[in-house]
């Protein structure tokens, strides 16, 4: 790592150290009952214990897999739908109110219905995550696509491009940035919805772990679960950002 890299890493680390110090400070300040706040080192110890004895990795895997498939399917459908809505104004006028209606519904509110229609298996969780990713992705897609300037299409036409070539060589490259943004947004929303989806009789998964722990008031386990969700979401986002940077080297970004 070069000097600038070390500095960036250090800068990124500061708020985390600060958060942990604040955590200790709150615990030791005496304002809060210490039995309600496990110390960071206790949570870390619990993490190791869960990892080695309770199969935390299985929970992590179960949750990550659900998020992965939910987001993949949601974006797979959101991309063409968002594209159509952004590209054809009539389609937008036609579908916009309905999309906003469904987008406003919190996925948790749908859980009773999902249980009725899809049961309590993996399918039900997939449906919830699909719903959350689709509606957050579709909005990003159509907002992005509707802002594509017609100039590039005109240029391509004057160079002799036919409809297929315009689509393949102009519209797709211009759409890629929006697909990546939609993916990032959907990923965030899906992780946020995970716990809700695992409310449905899940055996394993980070959401299920948190749910079970709350029944027995195991605060340290809840903390481990929450931190795991945040960390995995962070790692996925970082991977996606690396891919974005690789695919979109051409983009003019403000770097200060």
């Amino acid at each position: 790592m070069d000097g600038a890299g070390v500095r960036r890493f250090g800068l990124g680390l500061i708020p985390w150290v600060g958060a942990i110090l604040l955590w200790y400070a709150v615990r030791w300040s005496g304002f809060v009952n210490t039995s309600l706040i496990p110390a960071p080192h206790q949570v870390a110890a619990k993490f190791v214990e869960l990892l080695t004895k309770e199969g935390l990795l299985i929970d992590i895997f179960a949750s990550t897999r659900r998020v992965f498939f939910g987001v993949s399917l949601g974006i797979l459908v959101a991309v063409p739908v968002g594209f159509l809505l952004g590209w054809y104004r009539p389609a937008r006028t036609f579908a916009d109110p309905m999309i906003n209606f469904f987008r406003a519904l919190p996925p948790i509110a749908l859980i009773p219905l999902v249980i009725v229609y899809f049961g309590v298996d993996e399918l039900a969780k997939l449906v919830i995550l699909f719903y959350a990713s689709f509606f957050s992705g579709v909005i990003v897609m159509y907002e992005g696509v509707s802002q594509i300037t017609p100039l590039y299409i005109r240029v391509a036409q004057t160079l002799g491009a036919n409809q297929t070539e315009i689509f393949r060589k102009v519209i797709i490259p211009l759409t890629v940035p929006h697909i990546l943004t939609a993916l990032r947004v959907a990923l965030g929303v899906a992780w946020a919805t995970l716990v809700a989806s695992e409310l449905i009789a899940a055996q394993r998964g980070l959401g299920a772990m948190i749910q079970n722990a709350s029944t027995y008031f195991l605060l340290d386990v809840i903390y481990v679960g929450i931190i795991c969700i945040g960390l995995i979401a962070l790692i996925m986002d970082m991977i996606l950002r690396k891919i974005t940077a690789r695919l979109l080297v051409w983009q003019d970004r403000a770097i200060a």
């Binding site: 005109r154 240029v155 004057t158 160079l159």
Partner: protein
């Protein structure tokens, strides 16, 4: 001399909520092979609309716009367009931008030939050192050179330029004008240039079409009495100065007419 493009009693009007808006009215003129036509007139008068019809983006309301004797049905590679906003593709490198047209089915360029054509125009436009750069690293003048190279690469018979140098600073602009003259000298093209600069029109064009305030009609068509190849020295000649003040008068006249059309703006709101 063959006629390449023809405006035949062309009018174009829009229906707006406030009524019919005539943009171009009864315009007729021919553009012959090898002509360099500059269209000049007050801004907002409808000269870009004229070009847009020949490019194939807009259709006349009445009359017809012909290219090689056929009514223009849409945009096509035989009519290259250089846009004021350049329109270089930001997701492609400089070389890929030039190659873009060559990879299209309509232009039938063999893969082996593409590289040669790209290298030729990279060199001609002084972009060889930037072949693999993305447009975000280019200056305005370089982007415009890239746009010209890309348009030239597909060998259009005709070039339409909409105020191509309008956004450039004075020095870059005069460089670009000289480059364009040089390229025209070696490659030969028929050109229709939209501009609001009288000097640019005289320096570059063989014929100047002065357009009236909106709706755009033809005020006068003027032959420029300088032979090609030209260099900046012609701008010092007395004929250049006379022609310039003559055309400036015409354009100022129309500019005032255009201003008078606009309703006085109230600042009390």
């Amino acid at each position: 001399m063959t006629t390449r493009a023809q405006f035949d009693k062309v009018s174009l009007a829009f229906e707006t909520p406030k009524g019919r808006l005539n943009v171009v009215e009864d315009v007729s003129y021919d553009i012959n092979d090898g002509d360099f036509i500059a269209v000049i007139g007050p801004s907002g008068c409808g000269k870009t609309t004229m070009m847009s019809m020949l490019a194939g983006f807009q259709k006349p309301t009445t009359g017809s716009v012909l290219f090689d004797g056929q009514p223009v049905a849409g945009p096509g590679p035989e009519r290259g367009v250089i846009f004021q906003e350049y329109g270089v593709f930001p997701w492609l490198t400089v070389k890929q931008n030039i190659a873009f047209g060559l990879t299209l089915r309509a232009n039938h360029v063999a893969a082996g030939e593409r590289d040669l054509i790209c290298d030729h125009y990279l060199g001609l436009m002084g972009l060889s050192d930037f072949a693999n750069s993305y447009p975000k690293h280019l200056s305005g003048g370089m982007r415009q050179r890239l746009a010209i190279a890309r348009a030239y690469a597909v060998k259009p018979q005709f070039l339409l330029m909409d105020e191509p140098f309008g956004a450039l600073d004075a020095q870059t602009r005069s460089n670009m004008q000289n480059l364009l003259l040089k390229v025209l000298q070696t490659e030969g093209k028929t050109v229709m240039l939209i501009t609001h600069s009288v000097e640019e029109a005289i320096y570059l064009a063989s014929r100047i079409v002065v357009v009236t305030a909106r709706p755009a009609r033809i005020r006068q068509i003027i032959d420029v009495p300088f032979a090609y190849p030209r260099d900046e020295s012609i701008q010092e000649r007395p004929e250049f100065g006379e022609l310039r003040s003559y055309i400036k008068h015409l354009v100022m006249d129309e500019y005032r007419a255009q201003q008078a059309q606009m309703r006085p703006v109230s600042f009390s709101e």
